[in-house]
């Protein structure tokens, strides 16, 4: 604990404090723009945006989970299952709407079950969502017999493969998620209550916050959005893949934590989450552009992850 200087913090320091990761993001972006060939091309930026679409959507609700002091490891499985289920139902019925509804329903149901176990029965979130991660992954394999299910309904591909104003639809959908959940976090009582629960569950309960209901809602939304992301991904891939998105949960949680969301609850900012997601995406993209061999990519990813948090940590020294 070192001595603190008084005096009003300078405007720069204030910006740095409230937006540390955004600054790190900006610096990273600038470095890549200057030193990585082809980084700043329309094609690449579009690719980059698409590459973070799934993580971005799921991160929105994960942020809420973390804000309320929980987390959800089942998201990767739900993404995969939603794709498989959506594909199967669409192929059987020929109806896009039926496939979408089935997938979203299954996702929401998974989330609701997670919520029930965690919030109502008080089962640890790690165990609960690790269990549902396995169960849902297994169901995905069973439903597809372990093979990708090709989708034959052309109408569905539009969701993944068309663009509007030059920006692909999945990217618009990600932006929409960021907006909706940003608003939910900052401008509604729901968001504030989630943060209060994460900050001090007992105090929130005594202050009349409906702790159980809000937690269940958050988990349900998490399942719903993961399923939605799974559908978008399936549309992009024109197939539902039962073994896709393994490890997504850790990527999403680290993007959030990198963005400064506290693992122990009570602290969350949508801007920071966006920054976290983009930082991870840019690092991967730049490494691909620079043709760094995969084994070295592991090392580089780790080093950069650490570097980013340490840069952010600097703000507490200034």
């Amino acid at each position: 604990m070192s001595a603190n200087k008084i005096s009003q913090p300078s405007p720069f320091a204030r910006l740095w404090d409230s937006a540390g990761m955004l600054v790190v993001l900006a610096v990273l972006f600038l470095i890549c723009a200057l030193f990585v060939d082809n980084f700043l091309t329309v094609v690449n930026l579009r690719g980059l945006a698409l590459a973070v679409a799934t993580i971005g959507m799921v991160a929105c609700t994960m942020m809420f989970c973390l804000a309320a002091g929980d987390f959800d490891l089942s998201v990767g499985s739900v993404v995969a299952f939603a794709g498989v289920l959506g594909a199967t139902v669409m192929n059987r019925t020929g109806s896009v709407a039926a496939g979408v509804a089935a997938a979203l329903g299954a996702g929401a149901l998974t989330g609701f079950a997670n919520g029930l176990f965690v919030a109502r029965l008080g089962i640890n979130a790690l165990i609960t969502t690790l269990a549902s991660m396995q169960i849902v992954r297994g169901l995905g394999f069973i439903a597809s017999d372990g093979r990708a299910i090709g989708i034959r309904t052309d109408a569905f591909f539009a969701l993944g493969n068309t663009a509007w104003l030059g920006v692909p639809v999945p990217v618009w959908l990600t932006i929409a998620c960021f907006t909706v959940f940003g608003v939910l976090l900052n401008l509604t009582a729901f968001g504030r209550n989630a943060l209060a629960i994460g900050g001090n569950k007992e105090a929130a309960h005594l202050a009349g916050v409906a702790v159980t209901r809000i937690k269940i809602t958050i988990f349900t939304l998490q399942g719903l959005i993961a399923a939605f992301a799974g559908l978008v991904l399936a549309a992009r891939m024109t197939s539902g893949q039962p073994n896709t998105s393994q490890g997504l949960e850790l990527e999403v949680i680290s993007a959030c934590v990198l963005g400064g969301v506290s693992l122990s609850g009570g602290v969350a900012r949508i801007g920071a989450v966006i920054a976290g997601v983009l930082i991870m995406g840019i690092v991967q993209n730049a490494m691909n552009l620079l043709n760094i061999p995969p084994f070295y990519q592991y090392v580089a990813r780790g080093v950069i992850l650490l570097g980013a948090v340490m840069l952010d940590r600097l703000k507490q020294r200034t």
């Binding site: 603190n4 008084i6 943060l195 007992e202 005594l206 202050a207 009349g208 009570g266």
Partner: protein, 502 residues
Amino acid sequence: MTATGNLLTFAALTKEFPGVRALDDVSFGVRAGSVHALMGENGAGKSTLLKILSGAYQPTGGSVRLDGQAHVFSSTAEAIAAGVAVIYQELHLVAEMTVAENLLLGRYPRRGPFLDRVALRTEATRLLQLVGEDISPDAKLGRLPLAQRQMVEIAKALGRGAKIVAFDEPTSSLSEKETQRLFQIIRDLRDRGTAILYVTHRMDEVYAICDAATVLRDGRHVVTHESLANVTRDSLVKSMVGRELTNVFNYRPRPHTPGGLEVRDLAGPGLRAPVSFSVARGEILGFFGLVGAGRSELMRLVCGAVAPAAGEVRIHGEPLGGGSPRTAIRAGLVFCPEDRKKEGIIAIRSVAENINLSARRSRLRAGLFLDHVWEKTNAAAQIAKLGVRTASPDTLIGLLSGGNQQKAILARWLSEKVRVVVLDEPTRGIDIGAKSEIYALIHDLAAAGTSVVIVSSELPEVLGIADRIIVMREGLVAAEFPRATATPETVLHAALPVGTPT
């Protein structure tokens, strides 16, 4: 001020936090074998001073002299080694561990490479006896009531045999019996030559055990009285608050209308028999009792924090269904719990957030969106009304001084439109000036027709503010006194276990 004869001297201490100067050039000395009161309003800097003494904070300027040597302790371990023990305002105990493990935290006895469990237990038992607590050393700390946890904290610090002991509002969660026991301990320490620094907001305590007193205001040193013999209460208060303060309680009789809160045959954990009572509209009902008498447990049942095993609660004649704080609040019954750190504040959220948490419910647009104008104005208004000392409404509440946190939590409940207010130890850690303002607010609430229940372990407080007093003892209602017949003697007598000589 000279350092002669002083075991402990603060020399030009300054401590700055971002946007706040908590201490500003503070100097004074504490003699060996004396009890030195440290007084001042909430946020005056008392706890900060103690944390510098203990090495938990490092000063921005100045130093602490022990035996004439200047120190700036860079860690708590250093201060402990130098013979300093501090009992902090907020408890620092490990709930999941046993009482014994907590008592000897940081200095476990060893036998070779191993923990010496026998010595641990023996020493823990000795410490518990020292503070006169009859607790099993093997009990899980988290299961103890607040007051006993406070006594464990005290025993833990005393066990180090320090030559300087500092207490930060140790009695704020103790009742009369423990307080007396603590005073005896402090006198023993003093007689053995220990220098004692004692932070309190209670005037009675200052005169009961302190030999000298220092007053801080806004982080600055106001005065040090080396002897209290010729210092009046009023002049002390004046140096703290900067103005005269007469008639703290300012009691005014009010009309009572029946049908406020009715509690019928309520049964549940902590109660040995069903409890019934009622509070009229406009009435203030005080609950007095010793630690563990079951008052807090009763209130938790009343407000729905714990589901009752039987019985009924009515508000304005309507039965309160549901059994959750949420339904109670919606029916107009609010409850301010006693353990502010655990159940009151949300430390990592802002002051404004903490104030608006509950009341914003009825201000939402479309049932969902925050009314930012209201959020700002309400927080600002409450901060002003209760005099919460905070750099801004956006400061994290956890950074506020203890008393200011308490005020902010009261502000949460005063933001509500209420019919019944249940306050469990509402003035814990609140300075005398603010106390009188809070009493005035309680009177105003009552005058507007609210039913008020106030649980307090401070006898003068209950006697001073309540229209009627219920005394609890060992999970039972022991007696009830209208204001007219309540005297310190009768009330205290009713609270003591049967067969205790008075």
